[in-house]
Amino acid sequence: MTEHPTLAALVPRLARIPQLDATALAAEDNAVLGRKAGVLTVLLRDLRELPPDDRRRIGAAANELKARFEAAIAERRVQLAREVRAKAEAQVDLTMPARRRFTGALHPVTQVVEEITGIFRELGFVRAVGPEAESEWYNFRALNFPADHPAMDQHDTLYLDTGDRRTSEFDRRRGRSSGLFPAHERRQSPTDRRRPQDGRMLLRTHTSPVQIRLMKEAKPPLRAIMPGVVYRKDPFDPSHAPAFLQIEGLAVDEGISFVDLKGTLAHFARRFFSPTTKVRFRPSYFPFTEPSAEMDVECQLCGGAGCPACKQTGWMEILGCGMVHEQVLKACDLDPERYTGFAFGMGPQRIALQRHGIPDIRLLYSGDMRFLTQFSL
């Protein structure tokens, strides 16, 4: 190879490539490998004028040299680029703030509801819903609330004015369009005419009427979890709201007992809080369950030692529960001698307040971006 003077002259230049700067490298690239006048390009182009033997020998040597030049130049280029980037990076302050995008968030209470319903869905419970405007029959009577009974004291009720006195005015305006979706609302005019025994219309005070609807509409086995908004005539203050969320649960089948109630709800508590969370069941009273109970879990703040949040008891009340009352099953045309069941209800807002240390329930109804964005997923 070195026999050829041109090739021999190129060898030292190959060795110098790693020292070239960007400009010299481009010039050298052009001088050696340039498409028109590069030394090697020209040499290889002119090979056909040589005798066959020389052509093969010098051609092979020239091609090999060309490959080495290409490799060396490419390597030097990468090296130079790296040096340029390193120099630039040395000037970047990497502690400068990132270019963020707006991120969305689910409401902290939605997150709790999803977590709770998710755990129950693992246990075969499906979600069910019912109307928020209910009749007295569904909200109270079918649930075994005696009339004129102190049990009603905990259910300060908001009643609806269903406009019976405004018949003529309503009929006159009936055909006219109004509101956001005039055509839509005509399509969905209700078909379930109320029965006389249903009583007054009210805003449901608990999600328990959904139990009734479910048991009347479907046959056991039933396993359902029923999240929804409920209403009480409570002032809007740090610990009360006139509309709040509740999660109801119901399991009805042959052979369901208090042991299933305890097993299911204790499992839920350990899944939701932690596998070692202690749980206790205390007797309580609800007209629609018997036996009735409250489930407490070990206070999550003090770990059971006693603190102001748990009123020094070491326990936090999480949910009310009980075996579905015989009268409730009868009201739904189910034979209580054959079917038994358990039901429970809890307030996901209270759990959210406690979980995040939010001091005032009214914050949960606020649209304050500074509040809501704290709970981004």
Partner: protein, 792 residues
């Protein structure tokens, strides 16, 4: 219900640890709401021995005393009490001590004489009762002994939460019964000082028509309202302060001490859950005690100083002329016991719970008595309560019973008999308990287990103080409660899968919530109330506030209020959404129509501020809104399409229903606020079908840009439709890449640049084919819409 620990201890004859009692009561179904140590302030008060008493040189009523308080130096104390006597012991508060009434003692001169502390009366120590003189301490304790050690005054007030089914827990006896069962010890009524020698004759039962006791006529006309009534007459009482034991118990249970007569009736109520009433016999016209319905025109001046209008649904106690009390709720002012009263008529009744509840609800007047009557007192133990009350009165106020009490009870009955099947207990509780254990549990709460008949049932008589026990399931609950909820297994047993599937509307709501959070919106929950929007707003009959008198028709007004609140907090960037129920009136007498909606509002900068684009002031505009609206429609109502209606967009289903709307919103905005954009959309809960896969293209695409001069009257959607029709089957996508208005196109015309992408699925298109398609497009839009080609 407020309980005195010492009172419970008197029942159980053993000391109680409040923490342990709390734990047990909680597990028995009466959780403790709070424990308040009473007389905690008395630790600093000591036993003082008065060594010397001299007259005060400058005041007739005051005396100078020398008090040995256990220290080396006796204290000089000026004392105004008439009963201070040398050689006796009294509670002594040194200088610096704070008394329960809030007084802090300091050293000072009283009428020129030094006083270094105070000798105290019972009232000054918050022990109730007599303020007339010093509390004499008849104890052996040495001077200087802290008072709580010398005198067992220290008590705890335990407040329990009593569920409406347990009236028996509204008396100390009922709670003591539960604790006795829990500790496995007996309990009995505390002894009352001075009653050992009393001999009270049993009541005389009278079943029909008027009768008489001690010169007072008694008649019960309203038998349904008052099925049983005990009346007794006591003559010659001396009304005065209650003895310390009585006053202390009442105060410890949260009630004021008034006088020995009223205190006796209150004591019985707090101990036996039987409200009682004492009348001044002299004030009863007749004298007659008459239980009847009120007449429509009658009124009564009640003890609380109000004049109450009565009506024929109200049961009253009347004398010969007028009502003297609202039965079971409150007595009248005229017939109450006064300091000079000597003769008493005592009433101990069972009033029908629902009637009492109706009356007190109507009068908005809940009292300790009505609270108990409406939950049901013990119909069968009224005689015991009367006897107890008489004992206390005779022992503390003197006087004599005028004849045996009368018991007006038309039809004596027995408490309910219930049959309990052990097999049913096992079915409901999931554990098999031996019959002996069932019996043990039921006996512990006062049930009588009568027999074990052959048909595998137990006959159980419920006690009178448990009106809630009426059926088998009630007994099963009692068995579980007394056996202990925690004593039953906690097992996750196998279950059968239900017949119902997950609600579609919840699936849809999840999808929408997660979808909108994924595009950067923040979920909020607002209260579903507001002012009326139109005649389809659903009105609340008894709203909390006038501006919350209706249920929301739409979500957007609530979200807009939150935008304004954010502005109020100087927050310019708001991106909120809500998924919630809205209500529309469905006509007179009909339940309102309910629908789940999703709504969102956006205002402020389009992206978070960043140093790299410091000058960027771009804010959300209508095109961002349209994108959000389209995204929401895809999530919530995929069969709907966006249409233009005036300045807003609507979402319209194939059958022409408007299910959503998006537009700029009017708001009460500060000058710096950006425009607010919002949409609202109904949720469609019909299940989704899986998306069909589209094969990925294997051939190259060809694009052409067309710059068109489009008359302002032609909307892009019309242009796109015309292009789509003319371009042939190889047109894959059609995008608007530019809009221009200005001199280059002239007035009445705008420039629109369309990018057309052509592709054949199976081969590479030839340029001539694409050119031909473009030429057809240009020709078509020119002919149909008057659109001119500008440059390609």
């Amino acid at each position: 219900m407020k309980l005195s620990r010492k009172w419970l201890e008197a029942f159980l004859r053993r000391p109680l640890d409040v923490a342990d009692v709390s734990q047990r009561l909680a597990m028995l179904g009466a959780p403790v709401e709070g424990i308040e140590p009473l007389h905690a302030g008395l630790d600093a008060v000591v036993v003082g021995l008065v060594e010397e008493v001299r007259p005060h040189p400058n005041a007739d009523r005051l005396r100078l005393t020398l008090v040995n308080d256990g220290t080396d130096t006796p204290k000089h104390v000026v004392c105004g009490a008439p009963n201070v006597t040398a050689g006796k012991k009294y509670p002594f508060a040194r200088v610096g001590v704070s008394l329960p009434g809030g007084i802090t003692l300091d050293e000072r001169k009283i009428r020129g004489e030094l006083s270094q502390g105070m000798l105290c009366s019972a009232r000054e120590l918050g022990l109730g009762g007599d303020a007339g003189g010093l509390l004499e301490l008849d104890v052996d304790a040495a001077p200087g002994t802290p008072l709580p050690q010398a005198l067992p005054v220290r008590d705890d007030q335990i407040t329990i939460d009593v569920t409406p089914n347990r009236p028996d827990l509204l008396g100390h006896k009922g709670v003591a019964r539960e604790l006795a069962a829990s500790y496995g010890v007996p309990f009995r009524l505390p002894e009352i000082p001075g009653t050992a020698a009393l001999d009270i004759p049993p009541a005389r039962r009278h079943d029909y028509g008027p009768t008489e006791v001690g010169g007072v006529r008694v008649a019960v006309d309203d038998r349904p309202g008052c099925p049983r009534l005990h009346v007794a007459v006591v003559r010659g009482v001396k009304v005065g302060p209650s003895p310390a034991w009585l006053a202390e118990r009442l105060v410890a249970a949260g009630m004021r001490s008034i006088n020995n007569i009223v205190d006796a009736t209150n004591y019985v109520m707090l101990e036996l859950d039987q409200p009682m009433h004492a009348y001044d016999l002299a004030a009863l016209k007749g004298p007659f005690l008459w239980v009847r319905r009120a007449r429509a025109d009658e009124t009564l001046h009640t003890l609380d100083g109000q004049v109450r209008q009565l009506d024929p649904d109200t049961t009253v106690i009347a004398d010969a002329e007028a009502p003297v009390g609202i039965a079971g709720v409150m007595g009248g002012a005229d017939s109450e016991v006064k300091p000079h009263t000597t003769d008493l008529v005592l009433e101990c009744a069972y009033f029908e719970p629902r009637g009492i509840r109706r009356t007190r609800t109507r009068m908005a007047l809940s009292t300790e008595a009505s609270y108990r009557f409406e939950r049901g007192v013990d119909l069968w133990s009224a005689g015991d309560a009367m006897r107890r009350c008489l004992e206390i009165i005779l022992a503390t106020a003197g006087g004599a019973l005028d004849g045996p009490p009368v018991d007006v009870w038309a039809a004596p009955t027995n408490p309910t008999r219930i049959f309990l099947r052990p097999a049913r207990v096992a079915q409901v509780l999931g554990v098999e308990l031996p019959v002996a254990r069932l019996e043990q549990c039921l006996t512990a709460i006062g049930c009588t287990v009568l027999s074990k008949p052959d048909d595998a049932r137990m006959a159980v008589d419920a006690p009178g103080w448990r009106p809630d026990l009426v059926s088998e399931i009630d007994l099963i609950e009692e068995v579980a409660r007394v056996h202990g909820y925690d004593a039953m297994p906690t097992e996750l047993r196998p279950f059968r899968v239900g017949t119902v599937r997950d609600a579609d509307i919840e699936i849809a709501a999840d999808r929408v919530r997660h979808g909108l959070a994924a595009v950067g919106l923040v979920e909020c929950h607002t209260l579903p109330f507001g002012p009326a929007e139109d005649q389809w707003s659903v009105k609340i009959q008894n709203p909390l506030a006038a501006d919350a008198a209706y249920l929301r028709r739409r979500l957007l007004p609530g979200l807009l209020r939150e935008v304004e609140a954010n502005w109020g907090a100087q927050t310019a960037s708001v991106r909120l959404f809500e998924v919630g129920t809205v209500f529309t009136s469905a006509g007179p007498g009909q339940p309102p129509h309910e629908e789940r909606h999703v709504a969102a509002v956006i205002t402020g900068p389009r992206r978070p501020a960043h140093w790299s684009h410091a000058g960027d002031t771009a804010v959300w505009d209508r095109w961002d809104l349209k994108a959000l609206f389209e995204a929401a429609i895809a999530l919530a109502h995929p069969d709907a399409a966006v249409q233009v209606e005036g300045a807003s967009w609507t979402a319209v289903t194939p059958d022409g229903q408007v299910v959503g709307r998006a537009r700029q919103l009017d708001a009460d905005a500060p000058p710096w606020a950006a425009p607010v954009w919002g949409f609202e959309l109904a949720l469609d809960h019909t299940p989704r079908f899986p998306v069909r896969y589209q094969p990925l293209p294997v051939t190259p695409a060809t694009t052409r840009d067309l710059s068109l001069a489009v008359p302002e009257t032609v909307p892009v959607i019309a242009l796109n439709r015309a292009v789509g029709r003319a371009a042939g089957s190889f047109l894959e996508t059609l995008d608007v890449v530019d809009e221009y208005r200005g001199p280059k196109v002239g007035t009445g015309v705008r420039g629109i640049t369309l990018r057309l992408t052509f592709r054949a699925p199976d081969r590479t298109l030839r340029d001539q084919e694409v050119d031909a398609a473009v030429a057809a497009v240009v020709k078509a839009v020119e002919t149909d819409l008057g659109v001119q080609l500008r440059a390609t």
